[in-house]
Symmetry: C2
Subunit: 371 residues, 2 copies
């Protein structure tokens, strides 16, 4: 069994948002983890699901329903999903997905690299749907990908708006991509697939559950550079996506509305409590998610060399003392990164000559060059 097939099988039996398997994969090969699961004699749960799974059938069904399986290491895998690894849990859910089922012509990493989540109530007002669609057209025209769920209300309005623009849209669903939910959005999903993507953490055939919706919300937040809440009543699931965006330290934005509208209660509360920034249009959203451009305009010469580093690489780099050297193990501890991630970051940092390795294997800054 190949590593890819093992990971596909693991992703198919794991319940989204429970990071145990995903964490095991940072230490062991997928084949080992899968073999371990099959060896277990538990009568129910994940081990039982693993024994019942027919890998060949899963591969066939993935292919037959027009899907592909994307996993860490694939060129299409969005690097920044790994930030879920260190992220606080929300409603007891957490973790980097083991892999994703994807359907559509676009490339996931390319589309999500400049993307904004637009979320909100299913029971949206006409105002909310209008605003979501307008915002999406603007962002899409500006070259930004709109990411949302597949629900009625704000989700659908966001996709419709983006479909009118020039950039494909991404819908992240809480069930298998061959099980369109809600059924009334079958044709909307087909239109999304033509240029954009459907994405799910669940294998073909699976149906959404309440917990799967919550786990799905973490993907919407994690796949986008920032989240805009358009409308949500006092108790709304859309609030959950916002919590994920906050936990991931991504910008949270909210659109105000009439104070007499029940569906603006949550956006107003978030703004009032400084958990979200008030936005009234696409330009203000882009100010938040693409702050580099206005900055660069302001001080054209001020780009730093470290701007090219990933957050993990930057964290490792910053843990290296100005004088003396430090071992890999120490660095991993200081940067609070797993050893493999730390090694990967060091590799890149050495390639770009941010760091050099001693004869004894420790890491230090290169000698300063004369100015």
């Amino acid at each position: 069994m190949t590593e890819r097939l093992a990971r596909l099988c693991l992703a198919a039996v794991a319940e989204p948002g429970h990071p145990a398997l995903s964490e095991a994969l940072t230490e062991f090969d997928a084949e080992e983890v899968w073999a371990g699961l099959l060896d277990s004699d538990a009568g129910s749960g994940i081990a039982a699901r693993a024994r019942r799974l027919d890998p060949e059938q899963l591969v066939a069904r993935t292919r037959e329903t027009g899907q592909r399986f994307v996993m860490p290491g694939d060129p299409e895998w969005p690097q920044f999903l790994s930030e879920l690894d260190h992220c606080e849990s929300v409603h007891q859910l957490a973790g980097v997905p083991i892999g994703l089922w994807v359907r559509g012509r676009a490339e996931l990493a390319a589309l999500t690299n400049t993307s904004v989540a637009i979320v909100g109530s299913r029971a949206a007002s006409a105002y909310g749907e209008h605003v979501a669609a307008d915002l999406s057209v603007e962002l899409s025209e500006a070259g930004w990908t709109v990411i949302s769920g597949g629900a009625y209300g704000i989700d659908a309005a966001a996709h419709r708006g983006a479909l009118a623009g020039r950039t494909p849209t991404v819908a992240v669903l809480a069930g298998g991509l061959d099980q369109p939910y809600p059924g009334g959005h079958r044709s909307l999903f087909e239109r999304i697939v033509e240029k954009g993507l459907l994405v799910s953490e669940l294998p073909p055939g699976e149906h959404p559950t309440r917990v799967r919706f919550l786990a799905r919300n973490r993907l919407i937040a994690a796949l986008s550079k920032g989240t805009v809440l358009v409308e949500a009543a006092a108790r709304s699931g859309a609030r959950n996506t916002v919590s994920w965006a906050s936990a991931l330290h991504r910008p949270v934005m909210a659109v105000p509305g009439s104070i007499t509208s029940a569906t603006s209660v949550t956006p107003h509360r978030l703004i009032r409590e400084a958990e979200a920034v008030l936005v009234t249009g696409g330009a203000e959203v882009l100010e938040m998610v693409a702050p580099i451009k206005p900055l660069a305009r302001g001080r054209a010469t001020a780009t730093r060399r470290t701007d090219s580093l990933s957050p993990e690489e930057l964290r490792v780099f910053e843990m290296v003392p100005g004088r003396g050297s430090v071992s890999v193990g120490d660095l991993a501890v200081r940067a609070a990164l797993p050893l493999p991630a730390c090694l990967a970051a060091l590799n890149r940092l050495a390639e770009e000559d941010f760091l050099r390795q001693d004869r004894n294997g420790s890491w230090r800054l290169p000698p300063r060059e004369p100015q």
Copy 2:
């Protein structure tokens, strides 16, 4: 000539918002200043106006039009107007008023002691007028005085709402109180006078000018404990009242609305730039202007911030008045401490932000923070 008559005359010839005369009155008696003005042989300006003024006629006209003249030291004079003394100028205007013409049955100090300004566009939307009226009813029912101007739109809606509640309302006008402006609000003003107050810095007979409106805005902000902006387009005079409230370190609040409404552009911008706190109802307004009550209710048994202070520090802290500032010398006397001990205590109190120092070296409480 009495001090009171001299001050009445000075107030009648001074142009509001030009603090020269008001500052002279901190050093000299009103009679001296008035005599000095009459002695000047300037052919125009304030001296010429002073020579033309007939004091007896002014007194008669004030009385005949149902007005009274209220000045510093009077029981009815709101103490906290003196904060205008140290306040940064806005649009080159500044200063504590020399006195105020007041019409109505209520007492100015009593009414303004628990008061909120509600301001906004003349060209308000139906939504804005609805919101202003609702907010005013709520505040008025809660025992808070609503303060506003006399214009069409938000001002009028605020007064009408407050008139439906149980607390009288205060209208601050930019011309003489016998010259109702706009004329269409004559009957509204008469209803306000029945239980509440009309207030002006200008003597009977005077008409509003653009500068007088700007100077009037400083009084609306200075007479109230906080200012709520309900609606204002991108360029609106109501923005000016907000600037005064900010300069006075009083809470600034703004009501959101539809992002497609031109009259919500300024509230949204203020909220977005953290110059105003978003409010959606009376309770949220009262949280900002009367933060002590909800705090006390919220954590009855909680430790107080002052628990960390030494007895000496606490004594100094407790001698600083709730409003206005006090010199180190005065504090040492009041706290019955030697000067070095007082200075040491002040140092610690400043470090912990219990107290702040004025530009002129006096000590005051920091502006209240939103809860």
